[in-house]
Structures are given as structure tokens and as C-alpha cells.
């Protein structure tokens, strides 16, 4: 799993991103919609055009949840319990899409952080997002 150093690095990065949660979240979502149009099917009830209120608020929700989890990664299952239920019984998003979103989030981070998104940070972040997605899908079946 994640080393202590990796957990610290992840907590630090996400702590710094909470002030721009809206922008980061919306950017990642837009990238996902552009590269993987099938993902738009889950948003037919929302206006997901760039800078729309729905997109920004949804992006913010996602980033804040990821940031919250990053504060204490060893407690991820506890922190995400309500979201696990939501995704399993109401949203029922196919978990393959979590991978697609995670990839786009990594691209967003790269664009945002430039050289600061070092290979070490990238590795830690990829591990964390994979763990986050796995926990999110735990109640599916």
C-alpha cells in the first residue's frame, strides 16, 4: 500500500488544491467528457458545458471528497462509507469509469503543477486514486 512518505505527499498536494477545488474538478471532468464521450451518459440530467454552474459544483464535490480522504488514508473505508452507498445503490456508475476519471485527474494535476508533478508524486497519486476508486466500488456487490 502507500508508504508514510507517500501519504504525507498526497495529503500535502490535496490540501493545497482545496482552494481551487472547483477549477480542478471541472477541468478533470471536461477532459474525461472530451476523451471518453461515453462518460457523458451519466450526466444527461445536468448542464456539463464548460464553466456551467453544474459542472463547477460537481467538480468541487468530487475534489473535496478526494481531499477529505487524503487527510487520513488509513481510514478511507470509514470516510467514504456514505459515498460507497450512494455509488452502489443510486449512481451505479460502472467502475471502469473511475479509472478514466483518475487518468484525467492525473492529467489535470500535470497541467496545473507542471514540473512539480514529479514522477514520485505521480506514482503516489496514481496509487491513491486507485485505492480511492476501489473503496468507492466496494459495496457494488
Amino acid at each position: 500500500m502507500l508508504s508514510t512518505k507517500q501519504k504525507e505527499l498526497i495529503a500535502e498536494i490535496w490540501g493545497g488544491l482545496t482552494p481551487v477545488a472547483e477549477d480542478i474538478g471541472a477541468d478533470a471532468l471536461l477532459r474525461m467528457f472530451a476523451s471518453y464521450p461515453g462518460t457523458k451518459t451519466y450526466f444527461s440530467h445536468l448542464d456539463i458545458s464548460p464553466r456551467s454552474a453544474h459542472l463547477l459544483s460537481h467538480g468541487k464535490k468530487i475534489v473535496l471528497a478526494i481531499a477529505e480522504g487524503a487527510k487520513d488514508i488509513s481510514q478511507l473505508t470509514v470516510t467514504l462509507a456514505p459515498l460507497q452507498t450512494l455509488h452502489a445503490y443510486q449512481l451505479r456508475i460502472d467502475p471502469t469509469n473511475f479509472k478514466l476519471f483518475s487518468h484525467c485527474m492525473l492529467v489535470t494535476l500535470a497541467c496545473h503543477m507542471g514540473d512539480d508533478f514529479t514522477p514520485v508524486a505521480h506514482a503516489a497519486m496514481d496509487k491513491y486514486l486507485s485505492a480511492f476508486a476501489a473503496v468507492l466500488a466496494e459495496k457494488y456487490r
Binding site: H103, C111, H112, G114, F117
Partner: protein, 147 residues
């Protein structure tokens, strides 16, 4: 035959024409070896890959990264014929190098991240989609001759 829009063609030509292969190649390969350490299995004779610093400073990794980018350039120059362009390399990776084709996607993802970090805001969602489409075609071509 892959159909490319004008935007996609222009985007790919633009990105690669402005790229420094000797920076981007090594960065992408070393990132792949760091983020997905199991890919190191193919580089047993590359010397010290013990940690991130060692990988990033390894001259054999750097050289190979540059070689890979030059290989990609062939696809950029032959966008309407990518399958044929990589047929020989596909056979090489299958029969001689015995590389699991899943690895091509891993390297492709790392290259995307490196390019994103360089271009920043200019790497929009649409540019990303075009870049990923190109890389997907290359990756598919490299896996095509496996049997």
C-alpha cells in the same frame, strides 16, 4: 483506416514539431519505470534502476527514451498508414523482446502526462483527446502482430 479531423492532424503535428525528443523521451520512459515499477522487468541490463533518482539519472534509460520518441515520429509522419508503419516493430516487440502489449498503454499514459506538464493550460481537453487518439492508434498497431 483511421479518420483524422483537421484539428487532430494539426494538433499532432504541432505537438511533435515543438517537442524536444531528448527531454520528453527520457522523461516519459523514466516516469513509466517509476510509476509502474513492474515495467522494469524489460530493462534488466540497464544497470541501476533502484530508485527514482537512479532511474532519472540513468543514461541507458535516457538513450532509450529518445529512441522511442524517434519511433513515434514515424507515426506522426505517416498518420494515414500507422498500422503498416509499426508492423515490423510490432513483430520485434512480440517475437524478440517479448513485451506484454499492456505496457504500451502505460508508457503512452506517462507520455501524455509529460506533455501535459510541459504544455500546461494549452493542453486542453480537446488537445488531450486528439493526442490520446493518436497514441491509441500507435499502441494498437504495436500490438497487432502478436500471435
Amino acid at each position: 483506416m483511421v479518420e483524422w479531423t483537421d484539428f487532430e492532424r494539426a494538433t499532432i503535428q504541432d505537438i511533435f514539431s515543438k517537442m524536444d525528443y531528448e527531454v520528453v523521451g527520457p522523461a516519459a520512459l523514466s516516469r513509466c519505470l517509476i510509476v509502474y515499477p513492474w515495467t522494469q522487468r524489460y530493462f534488466g541490463n540497464f544497470g541501476n534502476l533502484y530508485n527514482a533518482a537512479a532511474i532519472m539519472g540513468n543514461p541507458m534509460v535516457a538513450k532509450h527514451g529518445t529512441t522511442i520518441l524517434h519511433g513515434l515520429e514515424r507515426g506522426v509522419k505517416n498518420m494515414d498508414n500507422i498500422k503498416e508503419t509499426y508492423a515490423e516493430l510490432s513483430v520485434l516487440h512480440s517475437d524478440k523482446l517479448h513485451v506484454d502489449p499492456d505496457n504500451f498503454k502505460l508508457l503512452s499514459d506517462c507520455l501524455t502526462i509529460v506533455v501535459a506538464a510541459q504544455l500546461g493550460k494549452a493542453f486542453t481537453g480537446e488537445v488531450q483527446a486528439a493526442f490520446q487518439k493518436f497514441m491509441a492508434v500507435v499502441v494498437s498497431s504495436l500490438g497487432r502482430q502478436y500471435h
